[in-house]
């Protein structure tokens, strides 16, 4: 059953683990954003998952995967400012839309195909709005390999596909460490900051990785050694 599509419970568990991962690593994210930005990325991301949780409490919880992801989209788009808030919102919105489409298909649920399609659409929207290209040292650098991994994994079960997406995202995160930022606050620092991965990219990796398990600490995943 879990082989072909995520059901509502699985999607909900994923989102809950994502929230847990964000809370658990908030301090580490803050520290990263202090080094390359203004130190609020952890707070912004935590505010987003908290707002989504509150939204679901108020509405009595979702009936399906699309609504679970839709709550995330609404929370991030409507309640969270900052640079990353609405960008994550766009990703969740695209995933929710893809989930709704695939639910209409026979078999229903959140398939790997829907995940691949939603992530690709989300990435495209993020690039349209934020104007970043791969290599600018932004969350795009984690989302691009994640989207590619999902596309390549079409046909495999969502759990395996998301694990591959997470691997790609983490690699993307580690690759950002050696980049000079051209977008976002880190860009103002020129070459002064090196060897620090981009916090937004870490947020993307956390999202995919939480499909399998909660991430309690970033440190081991960031070391390139």
């Amino acid at each position: 059953m879990t082989t072909t599509a995520f059901d509502t419970t699985q999607t909900r568990d994923w989102m809950r683990r994502f929230a847990e991962s964000v809370y658990a690593t908030e301090a580490e994210l803050t520290e990263l954003d202090q080094k390359v930005g203004d130190g609020d990325f952890g707070t912004n991301l935590a505010a987003g998952v908290r707002a989504a949780g509150l939204l679901l409490d108020r509405t009595g919880g979702p009936a399906d995967s699309a609504k679970e992801l839709g709550a995330m989209a609404t929370a991030f788009l409507d309640e969270i400012g900052g640079t990353s808030g609405p960008l994550f919102g766009l990703l969740f919105q695209a995933l929710s839309r893809a989930a709704a489409d695939s639910a209409a298909d026979p078999g229903g649920g959140l398939t790997t195909g829907a995940l691949a399609e939603g992530t690709a659409q989300g990435l495209a929207a993020i690039r349209r709005v934020g104007d970043a290209v791969p290599g600018d040292k932004t969350l795009v650098d984690a989302l691009t390999p994640a989207a590619a991994a999902l596309r390549a994994a079409e046909g495999t079960p969502p759990a395996a596909a998301l694990a591959a997406a997470a691997d790609g995202a983490w690699q993307g995160v580690r690759d950002t460490a050696s980049l000079t930022a051209r977008r976002g606050r880190a860009s103002y620092l020129g070459d002064r900051v090196t060897d620090i991965p981009d916090p937004g990219a870490v947020g993307v990796a956390l999202f995919f990785a939480s499909a399998a398990a909660t991430v309690h600490t970033l440190a081991p995943r960031l070391s390139t050694g």
Partner: protein, 332 residues
């Protein structure tokens, strides 16, 4: 709760807004649900609502400049995070005039994105919306920075000039042109001798060795792209002013407006000393300094630093700048 006087993380901004709204209830209204501030007594002659916003931590920007002669609404985000688009959308709808609403946006990715989404929603709702982007920060004027120059100190000058213009009944397109032209004639440079303290941790956002200056610092604790050693303030101001003048090239008859702006915890003694040095440098270079402001106008929490902004004006711009204003933090 180690350094900041607050009720807990995340309460700093909402608690401040509640207190601000009570303190200035004669001048502003505060929409608690959507978290924006509006002017109670805008000029009846206005046809366009003026709105600005951005991350908090830059007070008095923007809420302190809501009122007659300046902004119709301000949308404060969390500390150093741009407001969300719903906030901007709702506030815009609340203050739009018959000729729409003008967004004055500091050039930061987050602000651009959130104001951008709000603008889409306004278009959808049939409300005309224009944008003036402020991008005065010289330190980020580099090929390597794809996002372009940051918006900093000039924001208050643009808000004041556009406020004066809007009070004459000027329409949306003319305001966009005027604001864009004014913003283009402003440049700012900022330095810090110590970082602000992060509210969450109470610790300095970055460490500066004693005697070092962060040269070209941003207003969110983004470090500058280099440090330099601290010099006598006269030498420092001379250097900074030279760079600003090279970028702006005012003609000998151009009236120039200067803003000497404290970033948070630099003392008033220092700001006036800096103004004295600036005056001397401009005199020596025969620049016509016709107006000036000295004080904390656009801060970066409790950062220990200051910024210099120069604006090349003309008669029209000066008239709008001189027009009456009555907001919580600016009055004449």
């Amino acid at each position: 709760m180690t350094r900041y006087f607050e009720n807990g993380t995340g309460e700093l901004v909402p608690d401040a807004l509640a207190g601000f709204a009570r303190a200035h209830q004669d001048l502003v209204d505060y929409d608690l649900a959507d978290g924006y501030v509006t002017a109670r007594h805008p000029a009846p002659t206005r046809t366009v609502g003026l709105l600005s916003g951005g991350g908090s931590g830059h007070e008095p920007l923007h809420a302190g400049y809501v009122g007659a002669g300046m902004l119709d609404a301000a949308c404060p985000g969390r500390v150093f995070a741009s407001p969300h688009n719903r906030q901007i959308f709702r506030a815009s709808r609340a203050v739009a005039g018959p000729d729409g609403v003008l967004h004055i946006v500091k050039n930061y990715t987050g602000d651009r994105i959130n104001f951008g989404i709000a603008a889409e929603r306004l278009a959808d709702a049939g409300i005309a919306c224009g944008r003036v982007l402020v991008d005065d920060d010289l330190a980020s004027d580099s090929e390597a920075v794809a996002a372009g120059r940051r918006g900093t100190g000039a924001t208050v000058l643009v808000e004041k000039v556009l406020g004066g213009a809007a009070d004459t009944g000027m329409g949306l397109d003319a305001l966009v042109d005027l604001g864009t032209s004014v913003a283009g004639r402003c440049r700012t440079l900022a330095v810090a001798s110590a970082a602000h303290h992060a509210p969450v941790t109470g610790e300095p956002a970055f460490e500066l060795p004693s005697g070092e200056l962060e040269y070209g610092v941003g207003i969110h604790g983004e470090r500058a792209d280099h440090t330099r050693s601290q010099k006598q303030v006269g030498v420092l101001v001379e250097d900074m002013t030279g760079v600003l003048l090279d970028a702006l090239c005012p003609g000998p008859d151009d009236p120039v407006v200067a803003l000497v702006n404290g970033l948070g915890s630099v003392t008033s003694l220092e700001l006036y000393g800096i103004f004295g040095e600036l005056g001397r440098v401009l005199d020596a270079r025969r620049v016509r300094l016709v107006r000036h402001l000295v004080g904390d106008y656009v801060t970066a929490l409790d950062m220990r630093g200051f910024s210099l902004t120069l604006m090349v004006a003309d008669r029209t711009v000066l008239d709008f700048y001189d027009a009456p204003v009555h907001t919580p933090e600016w009055r004449w």
